[in-house]
């Protein structure tokens, strides 16, 4: 049984860490599903949300507000910032590019990424800001089964819970609300959706706003884990293999992809890493995604794309 204890510990830790990747991936899927835009800026949005949150929180606490009030205030402020940036992006970047090719839209979001990264750090500073919203200690469970028990970080569990709630809420939003249906229509065909009277700029604003709010949530968890800092933007890149594995259009896919990546890279690091030099966490997710792409290009849950001339 000795070998199994650490194995389960790594597995559970990996799965929970994977949920955190899913939190970022969710933002991608939302925007892709609703507007066909592959939003490279999601990582930058997490950074912006995190910086807005932590800086306003520090300011409010320094002005003598009780912590809970300050958190609410900071969350509202971060939400407002995301709303403003969603409006700006829709108005000045995506609006003028309506009906352009997918690739053009993708590259425009790379441009948006740089604007957001530069502006966020210029407005809110570019240091590492610690954020403490969730408990960061750990539980030890099942110590009667395995020697030493299994260590589980409370923060990761919180992250998992939050991701679960988000997914349920988003699924309900897409499935049962009028706006959600309109979002799916826009994703299918911009022009057709416009022609049946769906206000496309409003829809895009809503979807970027929702993605922005998801970014706020992701920022609370990641900020607590790593501190709010520039390297958070690299999460966006880690979310890409998650999307590849789960499929670009599937919300449950984003979660399951995250779990596979999280568990896979942690296990590979522990069991494979020592043999080939260590630090393979750095690329393992991408190579795994590459392998999935070769076998199943649309991902595990994505819709198959049928092309016509």
């Amino acid at each position: 049984m000795e070998g199994l204890g650490p194995f389960f510990e790594v597995l559970i830790g990996g799965l929970l860490a994977g949920v955190l990747y899913s939190l970022v991936a969710l933002g991608f899927v939302l925007i892709y599903k609703a507007s066909g835009v592959f939003n490279f800026a999601q990582g930058a949005m997490v950074l912006l949300a995190g910086l807005a949150l932590v800086r306003s929180l520090d300011l409010l606490v320094a002005n003598g507000l009780p912590f809970e009030m300050a958190v609410v205030g900071a969350l509202l402020f971060a939400g407002a910032i995301m709303a403003v940036s969603a409006w700006l992006i829709e108005r000045y970047v995506l609006g003028p590019l309506l009906n352009q090719s997918e690739m053009t839209l993708f590259m425009s979001t790379i441009g948006a990424t740089f604007i957001i990264e530069g502006a966020a750090q210029m407005l809110f500073g570019s240091d590492v800001y610690p954020l403490e919203l969730y408990p960061t200690d750990a539980w030890i469970i099942m110590d009667e089964v395995f020697p030493g028990g299994i260590l589980i970080s409370k923060l990761d569990v919180w992250g998992g819970l939050i991701a679960g709630i988000l997914v349920a809420a988003l699924a309900a939003f897409f499935q049962w609300t009028r706006t959600g249906r309109a979002l799916r229509a826009v994703a299918d065909d911009h022009a057709a959706a416009q022609s049946v009277g769906i206000p496309i700029s409003w829809i895009w604003f809503v979807v970027w706003l929702v993605a922005g709010l998801v970014a706020v949530v992701a920022a609370t968890v990641w900020g607590t884990k790593l501190g709010v800092q520039f390297s958070i933007t690299f999460l966006a890149l880690k979310a890409l293999p998650v999307l590849i594995i789960g499929g670009f259009t599937s919300i449950p896919g984003a979660i399951i992809g995250g779990l596979i990546i999280g568990a896979g890279e942690k296990l590979a690091e522990i069991y494979l890493g020592p043999h080939i030099g260590g630090g393979i966490e750095y690329w393992f997710a991408y190579v795994l995604a590459l392998a999935v792409l070769l076998v199943r290009p649309q991902g595990l849950f994505g819709e198959r794309i049928i092309e016509r001339i």
Partner: protein, 362 residues
């Protein structure tokens, strides 16, 4: 008024299909090449104006030329063949480390051969990572190239054989000896880079005008239609990957040997890949001229933002400058995509078109 093609008649098909069909263009390019090949080295020799200092060579001209070469490589893949790549930095790294290892382990090889072989290595890896492009495209492919980027970042950092077991992981380029010509001073390095860039620019320009270039463009414009017309996607896509990676690899080797001299494993990280992609987008997808314009812009923007406020006496911190560079680059990309998706190269073409009629447009 000077820019008129009146009276220039073409009597052969070859004359009609020339790279520069208008005489004024040929003269202008000749003057430009003369300045680059003769004028600037002469100015450097007699230390006239800014060319007397090493700064302009080391900080501007040499990086500009080498990055232009890398951008030409990426433009083949992204601009001509339509396959987006976020792995440009990785292929530069492969070129740099392959050239280093060839020069180190097979010292009999002439340096030029080492550099070209390094390009060949990059081409092999490019083909390998290009294979997924036969099944996937667009954004999915971007992830595949990202995989290349992160994998090679790691490989050169962790597998010490590549860096010859130096403790810090930083390696030094060998002496630059090209068949007896020892390249040492910045002006000589500049000449070397210039020769490589000119040669490859001419080769690539001709490739893109020929059979294979047309195949790439057909694949870019609509791959299924191209396939139905009898173009083999396997051949067209993989050749684009191979040639693109070859050129980027050579550019990487030059960047390491000619520009840096000694370098660390993470010199060619993801930022470099983005930089290359931006050069291509801003300069103009599918244009050789655009590569040079894009490289010049991306390289000079930070220097400009750093120097101008200083010269005007406005204190701007280094951090603010780097953030401003981010914002302006990003804004410019969005702006260009909206206003002119073909980049600076297209603006240049429009300007030329206007110039033909100037000053009497009717």
């Amino acid at each position: 008024m000077l820019y008129r093609e009146a009276g220039q008649f073409k009597t052969t098909y070859a004359a009609d299909m020339a790279i520069l069909p208008i005489r004024q263009d040929r003269i202008a390019l000749g003057i430009l090449l003369a300045i680059a090949f003769i004028g600037i080295p002469l100015l450097a020799e007699f230390e006239i104006g800014p060319f007397g200092h090493d700064y302009i060579f080391k900080a501007i001209l040499i990086p500009f030329l080498i990055l232009s070469l890398a951008a030409i490589g990426l433009n083949i893949l992204t601009g001509y063949c339509g396959q987006i790549s976020l792995g440009g930095g990785a292929f530069m790294a492969i070129g740099a480390y392959a050239a280093y290892n060839f020069a180190l382990r097979v010292p009999e090889l002439p340096l030029l051969v080492s550099i070209l072989l390094a390009g060949g290595m990059a081409a092999l890896v490019g083909i390998l990572f290009g294979v997924p492009s036969l099944r996937i495209k667009g954004l999915y492919l971007a992830v595949a190239t990202l995989a290349a980027q992160f994998f090679f970042d790691w490989l050169f950092l962790r597998v010490q054989w590549f860096t010859n077991y130096t403790p810090s992981g930083s390696v030094n380029a060998p002496q630059l000896n090209f068949f007896g010509w020892v390249v040492n001073t910045p002006a000589e390095r500049y000449m070397l880079a210039l020769m490589f860039v000119t040669a490859f620019a001419i080769i690539v320009k001709n490739l893109t005008r020929g059979n294979i270039g047309r195949q790439w463009m057909a694949i870019r414009d609509m791959d299924i239609a191209a396939e139905l017309m009898g173009i083999r996607p396997l051949y067209a896509k993989l050749s684009a990957f191979a040639i693109s990676s070859f050129i980027i690899g050579v550019a990487g080797a030059l960047w390491a040997f000619v520009h840096l001299g000694s370098w660390e494993p993470l010199t060619f990280n993801i930022d470099r890949s983005f930089q290359l992609l931006f050069m291509v987008i801003i300069g103009g997808l599918g244009s050789i001229l655009g590569c040079f314009l894009g490289a010049a812009f991306i390289l000079i923007l930070p220097i400009f933002l750093d120097q101008v406020p200083h010269a005007m006496g406005i204190p701007v911190s280094v951090e603010t400058v780097s953030h401003l560079v981010f914002i302006i680059t990003g804004a410019l990309i969005c702006f260009l995509l909206i206003v002119e998706p073909h980049g600076f190269a297209r603006l240049w073409a429009i300007a030329k078109e206007k110039l033909r009629l100037w000053p009497f447009p009717y």
